[in-house]
């Protein structure tokens, strides 16, 4: 049982940065960006490139990959989404799905379908009073927790974070009060992209790296964001851990191949009974 809880924590740690990134973008831009999975894939492959082709140290490769992902994600806004800012959310949603196919296949075109992994020394699992874990898993959790604290600090203590929260709350009011919403939007894409890049690293540590790595995470990431109340970064963190736990627990009874199904069932049940998420406030419809 302890083992299952630990595994759930690891899965939650992989999902958390992606879910926070997704929910941040949703809060400001008001449409669900399906390309989040493709962003995660870009992160994994960018880090893989720095790690294996450029031969950097893995920590440096991670930082490089995160920077590249943030830039690519911001570029997708400049090229694709920015000219369509006034379009209805559904159009943007369709566009984001098309974009995710484009990005995924660009990676497939360059790197092929081969399965890869980061160039890190294999470590023997450590056994501690019945609990088996690898040192990568500990790094993974530590990194996810660090990202959450960083995110918290940005949102709480910086001017930018304050502006982001205000813009997410009420876009027009924020604009009227003199907040530079263009800057807030750009920052949202960059931060969301950086989080996706980190998610790519974490996913790459635990899973094999292939062009669909991010796609497989899309539905659990959505589930985490919705579970936590979409648009709420803190909810997304909690949601990620809960989805991770649910996935590992159900794997006790069902074929683990259906992990994606767990996320789907969570979304369906939750939307039925508590559409605002576990921790969210009900949305007032005007």
């Amino acid at each position: 049982m302890l083992q299952v809880l630990f595994n759930g924590l690891v899965t939650g740690a992989i999902l958390a940065p992606g879910a926070i990134g997704f929910t941040l973008m949703f809060g400001i831009l008001r449409f669900p960006n399906f390309a989040i999975g493709a962003y995660i894939t870009i992160g994994a492959f960018a880090i893989l490139f720095f790690d294996q082709v450029a031969g950097w140290h893995i920590a440096l490769a991670m930082l490089g990959g995160i920077a590249v992902t943030a830039l690519v994600v911001w570029l997708t806004d400049l090229v694709v989404f920015r000219p369509m800012r006034q379009f209805p959310p559904i159009s943007l949603l369709v566009v984001s799905i098309a974009l995710s196919l484009i990005l995924e296949n660009v990676i497939r075109f360059i790197a092929g379908n081969d399965v890869r992994g980061f160039d890190i020394p294999l470590t023997r699992p450590v056994k501690l009073s019945g609990l088996m874990f690898t040192s990568e898993q500990l790094y993974l959790i530590a990194l996810a927790v660090a990202a959450m604290f960083a995110m918290h600090a940005i949102l709480k203590f910086t001017k930018l974070g304050k502006a982001m929260r205000a813009t997410a709350d009420n876009f027009t009011l924020a604009e009227v009060r003199g907040i530079d919403t263009d800057k807030v939007i750009a920052a949202t894409w960059l931060i969301g992209g950086a989080l996706a890049g980190l998610a790519g690293f974490l996913a790459g540590l635990d899973l094999v790296i292939e062009p669909l790595i991010g796609w497989h995470l899309t539905i659990p990431v959505f589930a985490a964001a919705i579970l936590g109340g979409i648009g709420s970064p803190y909810g997304a963190m909690a949601g990620a851990v809960l989805v991770g736990l649910a996935e590992e627990m159900t794997a006790l009874w069902f074929d683990p191949a259906y992990k994606v199904g767990v996320g789907f069932v969570i979304i369906a049940v939750l939307l039925l009974f508590r559409p605002q998420g576990l921790f969210g406030q009900p949305e007032i419809k005007k």
């Binding site: 159009s91 191949a257 994606v260 559409p275």
Partner: protein
């Protein structure tokens, strides 16, 4: 060459049925469905398994697929049509992934990734090879025609106008006394039925189905057909489906000329191009090639 054309036209037929279904759900009623591949697969496997394993005749298999599509469509929409549009997109996408995972992992039933061979076909002894291809094209074309006529009938009816009112503003439709929930579930179910029938026809045509025929890319092709043709316009999407197929096939030929690309790279390029085109259409011509016809009130006729 002729047999190639016939086979391509048959494939366009499957696209057209799927596109007509999406036009009911999204074009007319405004419900986002990204789970097209799920209903398509459901129909294909239902009819395939019932005819191969249980020995049902072709027509019964297709009818069973229609029923299964309807049941799943109604169930899924009952769960989720009250949601905001973007959540419906996520739920339907998750549903399609779940269907695909089921087909992939339940080896004992679906034969998993190896694919399910289907040798049952209607009147298979009557025609020779070429004649049969034309006969089957006839079946698919009739299905397209029926779906098209039903769609047009709905579009012109008061019921269709109520659906369009829901698309524009569901609160207003509700205030005007329309039963929004019921109309949404009915339309979504009917669309799911179309998709399942298309899947069944596809299964008996290709005679081998496997989970990788039913990836989310299918949804993109169909969305492209409907958006390019003109959402809400039943004639436009027929044109759209034809154009998408022409593009897919044309780019395949082009891929054969460019020798430095292997099949994997060529297929990646095709999907990239489709994605770029879809984004360009949404940005520069959101109403499509044939915009929706406006409803003419009595005074305008």
């Amino acid at each position: 060459m002729l047999s190639y054309l016939i086979s391509m036209t048959t494939f366009v037929g499957f696209f057209m049925i799927l596109a007509l279904a999406l036009n009911l759900q999204w074009g007319m009623t405004g419900m986002v469905n990204f789970g097209i591949a799920g209903f398509y697969a459901l129909g294909a496997y239902t009819s395939g398994l019932l005819t191969v394993e249980a020995g049902w005749p072709f027509l019964f298999g297709v009818a069973a697929a229609a029923v299964v599509g309807l049941v799943f469509g109604v169930a899924l929409s009952y769960l989720s049509v009250r949601l905001r549009d973007d959540f419906l997109a996520i739920v339907t996408l998750g549903f399609a992934e779940l269907v695909r995972l089921f087909a992939l992992n339940e080896d004992w039933l679906t034969r998993g990734p190896r694919g399910l061979p289907i040798d049952v076909r209607p009147l298979s002894g009557v025609f020779d090879r070429d004649g049969y291809a034309i006969f089957y094209l006839g079946i698919v074309a009739s299905a397209v025609l029926i779906a098209f006529l039903v769609n047009e009938r709905i579009r012109r009816s008061p019921y269709g106008r109520a659906a369009k009112a829901i698309r524009e503003d569901d609160v207003v439709a509700e205030v005007l006394g329309k039963n929004v929930l019921r109309i949404r579930i009915q339309i979504f179910g009917l669309g799911a039925l179309y998709m399942a029938v298309a899947g069944a026809l596809y299964a008996h045509y290709t005679q081998n189905i496997s989970p990788d025929h039913f990836t989310p890319v299918v949804a993109i092709f169909i969305w492209m057909s409907v958006i390019a043709g003109g959402a809400g316009n039943n004639k436009g999407l027929l044109l759209g489906a034809g154009l998408v197929m022409m593009f897919l096939e044309g780019s395949r030929f082009l891929g054969e000329f460019i020798s430095f690309m292997d099949a994997e790279k060529a297929s990646a390029i095709r999907i990239i191009l489709i994605g770029v085109l879809l984004i360009l259409v949404i940005r520069f011509r959101p109403q499509g090639l044939m915009p929706e016809e406006r409803f003419k009130g009595p005074s305008e006729i």
